[in-house]
Symmetry: C2
Subunit: 331 residues, 2 copies
DNA sequence: ATGAAAGCGCTAACAC
DNA sequence: GTGTTAGCGCTTTCAT
C-alpha cells in the first residue's frame, strides 16, 4: 500500500505553481516546456489525481448507480452488463445496489441526495407513490427501467410486454393450443400487472391465470403443480418469466407430461438459462441488454442536457422459438 | 431534481456556527437546545450531508469495489450478493466493475490510486506479475478471491478445489466409474490450473483431460462432443465448472448417451443453474457465497487494522449429489 | 502563459 | 459548549 502524491508535490518538483501544474495536466493553455516539466514530475512521482477532491471541485462524481430489486434474476445481470459497458465508455464508474423490497428502493433513491452519484438507472419491481415522489425529489437524474405513471415525467425504457405476450399467445395458438394458461408472478409488481393484463387481453378473459408468490423457479413449480393437476388442465402455459417457466417444466416433468407434446411452455425474458435448459425454452425476448443500453444512453443524454424533454422508450419484443413449444425448434 | 442544502445554510437557520451544526448532527458534545435547533433546521431544509465533501475531509469514501473478470458467470453474482450484504451492513456502498481480460484487471487495480474506493475485493481469472505488482502498489487494501503467490503477502480467500475435486472423483469411483475424464477450462487461468492439477492428482496421471476454450456451456459442449465420440470414451466426466458440465450434458444428449446411465457428469460451483437443470447436476460446492462473505469481512478487518498480518483463508468444499451422477439423487 | 488566491462542503483542532 | 480557523486536493477565476 503505497503513498499517493498530490498535485502540490508535482508542482514543486516541476518548479511551477499548482495552477500551472493543473493546467498542464489537463491540457489547457500552457507553454510546452511547462507541460514537459510537469509531465515528467508527475511520472516520477507516480501522480494520479484524487477522484474525491476532483469531484468536490467539479460538482460531479463521474459515478452512476444501478439499483435493482433482485440481482439474483439473471435478466437484471444482463441489463447490468449492458449498462456498465455504456457508462464505462463515457468515463463513468458504475455503482450497483441490490434494493430488495419497495422500501429499500425508496431509501436508495433518497440517498442519492448524498451526492455520491451523478445519476441512476433504476429497475423497480413495484412503483409506489413514495418512489415517484423520491424520484421527483432527486437532485440527479433517474432513468427508470419499466413503466411509470404519466405524471411522473421521467425518462423510462420499457419492454413491449403486451406485444411480446401477444406474440407468444399467437404462436401457441398456431401450434394448436386450445387451452392456454398464464403463470404469473405477484400481481402487485409492475411486470406482474402489465404481463397479466396483456395475457388477458391476448388470450381472452376466460383464460386461466394463476400467480406464483414470486418470480422464481421454485414458486413457479409449486403453482404449476396445482395448475397441471386440474381436470381441465391447460395444453399450453405462458409464464411471466423464464424462471417461472422452468418451474412449470419441472412440474410437468414430475406429473409425467411430455413437453411440448402434452404441454407447450413459453417463458419471458429469453435468458441464457432458457437456452441452456433441456428442452430448450421458447421465450419472449424483451430485449434486456438493449433496454439496459438505452437506459444508460438516456441517462448520459440527460446529464449532457438536463433540460431535455423526458423520453419514454419502448423496446420491441420478439419471440425465440425453441423446443419447449415446438418439436421442430432447435434443441 | 431538487436543490440541496449545505451545512452552512443549516447553521445559519439554526443560528449557530457551522462547527456547532456539524457537532450537533454527528452527535458530539453540544447543548440540548443546540441539537434541537440544528435538527429542526436540517429537517426543514431537507439537509443531507454531501458524501464527496465528507470523503475529502475524512480521507475515506465509504465505498468498496468488487472487480470480477466475468459477471456473466452466475457464481460471481452469488459472490457479489454476499459481498454486498456484508459491506452494506458496515455502511459501505459497493462499486462493481467487470474487468474482462487480464490487462483490464490490472488497469482497474491501478485506478484504485484515484482514491474512489477504500478497498477492493478482486476475483481475477489470471494472476500475472503485473497484477501482483499493481496490488502491492495499491494505496488501499485489496483482498483476492483465489490463490496468490506466497510472496504477495495479501489477504486471500480461496476454495479448497483440490479437496472438492477429490470428493467428486471418489464419488464417481464409488458409483462404479472406470474411466473418468476432466473437462477443464483454459489452463492458463488460476481455476483451470488448480483444478486441472487437482484432478490429475486425484484420478491419476493417465486420466484423460481436455480443455475448453473458456468456462462456458458452449465451449464445454464443443470439447465434450469430441471427447465423447472417442472409441475409448469415458463413463464419467468431471467438469471444471457448472457451465462446462451443462455443455457436457448437452453433448451427451446429442450423442444419445443416457445420464447418468452411460455417462455420469459432475460440475463445480454448485450454482442454481445446476440445481434447475434436468437431470439436476451433481456439483462440487466450493462455498461461493461464503467465500464472498469471508473476503468482505477480511477487507473490513484490514480497514480497521491495516497492520494486521495478511490472512489466507481456505473455505472447505462439499459435494452436492444429484441426478446427473446418481439415479437415486433428487431430480 | 503563469501565479496567487478563492472555494467546493465538510470536520477537527484549538482557543475561549 | 461554542465559534474561529485551517485544510482535505483539486480546478478556476483574476490579475499580471
Amino acid at each position: 500500500m503505497a503513498q499517493r502524491a498530490t498535485i502540490t508535490q508535482v508542482a514543486q518538483r516541476a518548479g511551477v505553481s499548482v495552477a500551472s501544474a493543473s493546467r498542464a495536466l489537463n491540457g489547457l493553455t500552457s507553454a510546452t516546456a511547462t507541460v514537459e516539466a510537469v509531465r515528467a514530475a508527475a511520472r516520477e512521482l507516480g501522480y494520479i489525481p484524487d477522484a474525491t477532491a476532483r469531484s468536490l471541485k467539479l460538482g460531479r462524481t463521474l459515478q452512476l448507480a444501478y439499483a435493482v430489486a433482485d440481482i439474483g434474476n439473471p435478466v437484471y445481470v444482463e441489463m447490468m452488463g449492458a449498462i456498465q459497458e455504456v457508462v464505462a465508455g463515457a468515463g463513468y464508474r458504475l455503482l450497483v445496489a441490490n434494493t430488495g423490497d419497495a422500501a429499500g428502493t425508496v431509501d436508495l433513491v433518497t440517498s442519492l441526495q448524498r451526492g455520491y452519484a451523478d445519476g441512476m438507472v433504476l429497475s423497480p419491481l413495484r412503483v409506489t407513490d413514495e418512489l415517484v415522489e423520491a424520484i421527483a425529489q432527486s437532485p440527479v437524474p433517474v432513468v427508470v427501467l419499466g413503466r411509470m405513471p404519466e405524471a411522473a415525467a421521467v425518462d423510462t425504457v420499457a419492454p413491449d410486454s403486451p406485444g411480446g405476450v401477444a406474440l407468444a399467445v399467437a404462436h401457441l395458438r398456431e401450434r394448436g393450443a386450445r387451452r392456454i394458461a398464464f403463470v404469473n408472478g405477484p400481481f402487485d409488481t409492475t411486470p406482474g400487472r402489465v404481463r397479466g393484463t396483456a395475457f388477458t387481453d391476448a388470450a381472452g378473459a376466460d383464460a386461466i391465470t394463476v400467480a406464483a408468490t414470486d418470480f422464481t423457479a421454485v414458486a413457479g413449480e409449486a403453482v404449476a403443480h396445482e395448475l397441471l393437476s386440474r381436470p381441465d388442465r391447460p395444453d399450453a402455459v405462458l409464464a411471466a418469466n423464464d424462471l417461472l417457466a422452468i418451474g412449470v417444466l419441472h412440474a410437468a416433468d414430475q406429473l409425467g407430461l411430455q413437453t411440448p407434446g402434452d404441454l407447450a411452455v413459453v417463458g419471458v425474458d429469453d435468458t441464457d438459462l432458457g437456452k441452456l435448459f433441456r428442452p430448450s425454452l421458447t421465450s419472449v425476448n424483451l430485449g434486456a441488454p438493449e433496454r439496459g443500453r438505452r437506459a444508460a444512453e438516456l441517462l448520459l443524454a440527460r446529464l449532457q442536457d438536463p433540460g431535455r424533454k423526458p423520453q419514454q422508450i419502448v423496446v420491441p419484443a420478439s419471440l425465440s422459438v425453441r423446443r419447449s413449444s415446438d418439436g421442430k425448434g432447435s434443441r
